[in-house]
């Protein structure tokens, strides 16, 4: 049930990702390449805004595959992750059956067994992302986003699906995948995931990028930005990340800040401009105060 090999080498993955606007380093590209070769899911862990979700999206784009996304949240269960019977439609069907029976024969002549079989057919099944990915015959990338938010029981369900890539639906039988999709799970590490799930996956820790790569990301994602401004932006962000803050800026904040500076028509950033726009990078008042002071951009 193996899928055709999608990539030839880590380097090729890195280059293809760059073409769709995702700047990967060797570690990221290498893991994506291995995931494809070994048919293993990737667990991408790291702080918010470092490009975990985007990685899955960009991999789908570069592979010309359809992205199927399961967004996790507290309370997510089988019926939202895997499948569910469409009970409203089932009820209507049952009611309609009664009606038809009454009209035609003046008394319930429609065999119940037929109705039961009917309401447990494909037409009444609501396919959720996991099942959708398993049934797919076209190339897909499955993204299980923010998996650390689900309860332990749902995590076990995910593991089961990712172990045999098949689902058994009592009323319909077993559905097995015809190909192993590329799977990405992301986690903010707000909760320790089970050892079993981690064992099943390749592990990739994403952190704030090296300045060189962050500069490339800024250049790729903020159209028209000059080399000089991008370098300044990344340099200042790196300074800020060294401070002891409640919430250090992530790549997403770097990008927001660069975009803001572009909107303001800035050619370069100085102390004044930094002070005026620091709230784009930092969310807490105390952080802004601390950074203003340490960067000597405080009072004019």
């Amino acid at each position: 049930m193996s899928a055709p090999v999608r990539f030839d080498s880590g380097t090729q993955v890195r280059e293809s990702l760059a073409r769709v606007g995702y700047l990967a380093d060797d570690a990221i590209a290498g893991v994506v390449y291995l995931a494809d070769r070994l048919d293993k899911p990737v667990l991408v862990e790291g702080p918010a805004g470092v490009g975990k979700t985007q990685l899955a999206k960009s991999v789908a784009e570069m592979a010309g595959a359809r992205l199927i996304r399961l967004q996790c949240y507290e309370g997510l269960d089988e019926s939202k992750a895997l499948y569910e019977w469409n009970y409203k439609k089932q009820l209507l069907r049952i009611q309609a059956g009664r009606h038809a029976g009454e009209v035609a024969h003046g008394g319930g002549a429609v065999a119940w067994g037929d109705v039961e079989e009917d309401v447990f057919s494909e037409d009444f099944l609501l396919t959720r992302p996991l099942l959708e990915a398993i049934r797919a015959t076209d190339p897909v990338v499955l993204l299980i986003d923010e998996v650390d938010r689900v309860e332990v029981e749902t995590e076990a369900l995910l593991l089961e699906v990712l172990s045999d890539y098949q689902v058994s639906i009592p009323e319909l039988g077993t559905v097995a995948a015809t190909q192993v999709p590329l799977v990405f799970l992301t986690s903010n590490n707000s909760r320790e995931l089970s050892e079993a799930l981690k064992r099943r996956c390749l592990f990739l820790h994403l952190d704030y990028p090296e300045p060189e790569r962050e500069k490339e990301i800024v250049s790729a994602r903020v159209p028209g930005i000059s080399e000089h401004l991008a370098e300044q932006v990344v340099g200042i962000v790196r300074l800020i990340r060294q401070l002891d803050l409640k919430k250090v800026p992530s790549v997403s904040e770097t990008l927001d800040w660069a975009a803001t500076l572009m909107l303001l028509g800035a050619k370069s950033v100085d102390a004044d401009l930094t002070r005026e726009t620091l709230h784009v990078l930092l969310k807490y008042r105390s952080d802004i105060a601390k950074a203003s002071k340490q960067l000597a951009v405080g009072g004019a």
Partner: protein, 453 residues
Amino acid sequence: MLEVLAGFIRELRAAGLPVSLTEDIDSTDALRHVPLEDRTGFKNALAATLVKSHAHRKTFDAVFDIWFSPPLLCGGPDVDTGHEVELGEWLEQALAAKDRDSREAAVKAAATSAVSRYAGMEEGRPVGGRYYLHRTLRHIDLDGIVQRLLAAGREQADHELTELEELLLADEHRNRAERLRAEIEGEIRRRLVADRGPEALVRTARAPLPEDVDFMHAGADDLAALRRTLQPLTRKLAARLGRRRRHNHRGSLHFGRTVRHSISYGGVPVEVKYRHPHPSKPEILVIADISGSVASFSRFTLELVHAMSSQFSKVRSFVFVDGIDEVTRFFEGAEDLSEAVRRINTEADVVWADGHSDYGRALEAFWRRWGSELSPKTTVLVLGDARNNYHAAEAWVMAEIAKVARHVYWLNPEPRSYWDTGDSIVDQYAVHCDGAFECRNLKQLAAFVDHLS
């Protein structure tokens, strides 16, 4: 190759990494897809298959760098002591290169030469890498080089640098100098491995993993790593304490499943189905000793309380020495932990007489003032070494607390073998608790959390 890999995995396990058999096999599989000469790819493939927790990565890197240390080029270290004067300039030029790739190459070459000239490495001499690093650095005056580079940077600018620009320039050069330092360290390690072999060296490089660091002896670096690992653990603790009361409750009607079930009975809802109830929010009450005898532990204790306050809605915290005070409010409003600690130190009323812990007095005061606020929904965690300085135990308070509260647990930062020696009276309290646990590191805290399930 397979043998080398097996040895490597053995070393990882010896260092405490939980490498399973599956992962062992996965790593071999992965290597089949990476060209042998691709060193970065090789390392990444091993990391992705063998290391499943970021906290373990540093240890992995240390072992990897020794185990797979690249062989020295033929002829061994080049010793060209003829050009003493120029090395400083060479290093400076290398660090000044604008283009990153050429800079790294130049820095590498310069680092190799620096080690050859100054480290004075002798075969078979049983000293560690740190000694050689120190010797090399003493000769090359890295600070001076950085200062000269900064001066050059200022000169190149067409205006006087602003304070912000100064900071940026300094940061850049600090980072470059750090790279050079790392290169020198790497070169020394390479030669040490060549001399003594990886097995001998890897042993000296072993440092405890974050989860094994003893709270009582944790340094600032350790605490930072502890804090990162603590967050997910606390969440698990929250979930565990929350779930314990689930079965008594019933969730709301699950309409879909009710209908689904009714279909087997001709559409008659003979059995009503319920949703799983959401775990109810636990009420947790923490009572922590923050006296001198547990100073490092109490720092960790406060980290724990802080982490819990951000995750549970109903955490009440109390700290004591010989007096006791509620400090819940300091955690609620606090921007960060240091702020909370500052307020606890200045505003909380916990020292009554002499600043030596008096568990009996503190517990009794607690019972008098807050005892009536305990309920059968409350779980009580007591954190401390129960070293009572020979004061009265007043263990009856624990008995009273246990009668009311849902659960009472005692977490002790001392090794179990020290319990009930000297002025430790943990057993007198523990008999009234649901359990007393040794809690000296994160692994033990995790074991406690697991015990709750």
